[in-house]
Amino acid sequence: MKSHSYLLAAVVIAFSVLLIIPMWAAYGVMFPKEGGGHSHGGGEMVTAAEFEEKTARFMKERQLPDGSVRAAHGEPIYVMATQYTFTPSTIRLAAGKQYELQMLSTDVVHAFSVQMGNTSYNAVVMPKMVTALKLKPAKPGKYLVVCNEYCGIGHDYMYFAVIVEEAEDKEHHEKSSVETKGHEHGEQHGK
């Protein structure tokens, strides 16, 4: 029956949406990454109090006089989401360095949506379960981060900034900040 060859062709065409699977392999995202890391998941369970303490400690160690927080390479960055703020409210990173971000909500479900001009990166931030991300800024600039999961009436006021600085710049700033605050951080001085 000739008409059935068209039906067969339609079946082949429909199933060729599965060609997307070899595309994942081609882009190297077929299998879970080394060490079982999650692309936007941490899965670690913590209490709000524990996380609040970690964030407070991180801010105390890394806060600059202008209130922003400069993260150190290789050390986790803690971001706490609470109706309707992110803590810290400004994070400084250095271009070309790799960072690890850990996020938790202390109340309702929030999200982390980094605006990069014509594109964004989006992940959900939940209570109880940490969202862990690896990130590597390539281009200096100021990036807006908004909450894109409805979290209550003040949802549209919930945002913070990530400032990516030139790598050399970072060193300069570090020295000045260390001088002002009188803190000593062996790891940063060593760079």
């Binding site: 068209y6 039906l7 429909a14 599965l18 936007h40 479900v109 109880k128 990130l135 281009k139 600039g141």
Partner: protein, 570 residues
């Protein structure tokens, strides 16, 4: 060549005659559901007008409190009640109108189901307007901060009970069609005689039952929790709720998908008179694929959640690709029905397209609904793969595909059915056939503008469900222009098309010419003189090829975007 539908048609009266001949008492229940559905849809459109005003940046009227309340009511009316009512009406139609002389198993049960659904609507609307700004998701722990939240969960329990009762009634009706219950052959005969669309409804019932079961499992504890009767830690509760919710919510999506395709089979028969050139078992078998592939693919709503491991997400992504397949094949069969029918009447390779009944508003609803369905389906590509979901998750790209899907495709195809249902059951001519003629085109074009600009806005990072996208002046400049087009142009045109539909249907009900003329004011079935035997359907393959290329391109595009981000994630 097997031409089941044509053979069946020879034995029984035409679909339109069958619909007209269905029992008035059953018709009354169907009409009650239809009208309640139309009222819910009208409400959803009216609230959408408020959303359009708030979300068009050029108007400068962003207002958080009003926006979230209107959004909650809009989505509950549109996504929950319009579909719950109209799909129940379609279920009844499948039981009585598509089965010559068919009667509903229990009319009383049908009315009880209707009462539950209507009560759900009232309870939910009281809840929303009493201040439950929880959006239709009503996620704990957020829901805790709104005292009216219990009414949202309670309303959902009512609508779930209503859906269960009407589906049960439908299933019981189908069982009465088997003459000897112990004979396998009798079951086979019954399933074989059954109209494709009724069969689709039979396949949807297990999905509806699993939705109802999950809804009880979800909302009974949620209701008790919101009333303070369960002292579980809200945050612990939230994780479980979110997961269970998405299992249910995911399956809910496929009820309109299946009902829309079932309705499309009816529309193609009513508008062009074309029958399938393939065995009906092929189309019926494809409907069986949904209950098999839909439940395990719920993972794709949680692609950006930390609670699901990456391995699960990857398996979920692979399975998700399968949900396109039955719909793509149905689109091929339906297009093929038209193509073979038209070419059998002597029209040429592409010439047949020109001779389709483009001026019949129900046909326009069918063809534009199918086109919009294909385009919106393609737009989901990036969202349902774990590997690329981070590009669009939670952005305006989500409503930008959902609206063409549920309004431009499902609702538009239902509108096509309503054009026939109202004129046939009320024996009136369509009022304002010229207005009706442009309505389907306007609605789908409006939603495609909404989809196009809204998807670009999503790619640019505009968050969904956010009243004011200014972020203290820190938002990218492109956002305002994109949202002005999405809401200001796409949204406004959609409202206009909606108003046009309600004007035509409302006026037909009250002022349509009676008795109806033979031609039905532009709704007459196309007269196709059969001049030759034609069973080839090459043109019907084209939309599928385009679809596959588009999803591959979108996927490659998303990988391209991810590779060029100024901040690399992974």
């Amino acid at each position: 060549m097997v031409n089941n539908m044509a053979n069946n048609r020879a034995q029984r009266p035409s679909l339109a005659q069958q619909i007209a001949a269905s029992h008035p008492a059953d018709q009354k229940l169907m009409a009650a559901y239809g009208i309640a559905g139309l009222l819910s849809l009208a409400g959803a459109f009216a609230l959408a007008a408020v959303l359009v005003v708030i979300k068009t940046p050029a108007l400068g009227l962003a207002n958080g409190e009003l926006y979230y309340r209107m959004l909650t009511a809009h989505s509950i009316l549109g996504f929950v009640y319009w579909f719950a009512f109209i799909q129940a009406a379609l279920l009844i139609a499948g039981a009585i109108a598509l089965r010559h002389g068919g009667r509903l198993w229990s009319l009383k049960l049908g009315w009880l189901a209707f009462a539950f659904t209507a009560a759900g609507l009232v309870v939910n609307m009281v809840g929303v307007f009493a201040g439950a700004d929880v959006l239709y998701t009503a996620f704990p722990p957020l829901a805790e901060s709104f005292p009216a939240t219990p009414l949202i969960y309670l309303g959902y329990l009512f609508v779930a009970a209503g859906a269960f009762l009407i589906s049960f009634d439908f299933l019981a009706t189908v069982f009465t069609w088997v003459e000897r219950k112990s004979s396998l052959q009798a079951w086979k005969t019954m399933l074989g005689e059954m109209h494709i669309s009724t069969f689709a409804a039979v396949c949807a019932v297990p999905l509806i039952f699993s939705i109802v079961l999950t809804a009880f499992f979800l909302y009974i504890p949620a209701f008790l929790w919101s009333m303070g009767r369960i002292s579980t830690d809200a945050r612990e509760f939230a994780l479980n709720f979110r997961l269970t919710y998405h299992v249910m919510f995911h399956i809910i999506h496929y009820i309109p998908a299946m009902a829309m395709i079932a309705a499309a089979y009816v529309l193609v028969e009513l508008t062009t008179g074309a029958g399938s050139i393939y065995r009906e078992t092929v189309a019926k078998g494809l409907f069986l694929m949904y209950p098999a592939v839909v439940p395990p693919t719920f993972v794709y709503h949680l692609m950006a959640d930390p609670s699901i491991t990456e391995g699960t997400k990857i398996i979920g992504s692979a399975l998700s690709l399968l949900v396109w397949i039955p719909s793509l094949l149905h689109m091929f069969i339906i297009t093929g029905m038209m193509e073979a029918g038209m070419r059998s009447a002597g029209h040429g390779l592409f010439g047949w397209i020109r001779h389709l009944p483009w001026k019949n508003p129900a046909f326009a609803s069918l063809i534009m609904g199918m086109t919009t369905f294909g385009i919106a389906g393609g737009l989901t590509a990036v969202l349902l793969q774990e590997q690329t979901a981070s590009v669009l998750h939670g952005t305006f790209a989500v409503p930008a595909y959902i609206h063409p899907m549920v309004v431009g495709a499902a609702s538009l195809i239902y509108m096509g059915i309503i054009y026939y249902a109202v004129t046939i059951c009320m024996k009136r001519d369509l009022w304002g056939p010229r207005l009706a003629r442009i309505q389907p085109y306007l609605l789908s074009v409006a939603l495609l503008v909404f989809a196009w600009a809204g998807t670009l806005a999503g790619y640019a990072g505009v968050p969904r469900r956010t009243a004011d996208i200014g972020f203290g002046g820190a938002a990218p400049e492109s956002w305002q222009a994109l949202m002005n087009v999405t809401m200001g142009i796409g949204g406004t045109l959609s409202l206009l098309a909606g108003a046009l539909f309600f004007a035509v249907i409302g006026m037909t009900m009250f002022a349509g010419r009676k008795p109806a003329s033979e031609s039905g004011s532009g709704l007459a079935t196309l007269a196709l003189p059969r001049t030759r035997e034609f069973v080839y359907t090459p043109t019907a393959l084209i939309p599928g090829i385009i679809f596959v290329l588009v999803v591959l391109l979108f996927t490659a595009g998303a990988f391209g975007i991810m590779g060029n981000r100024p901040i690399q994630f992974g």
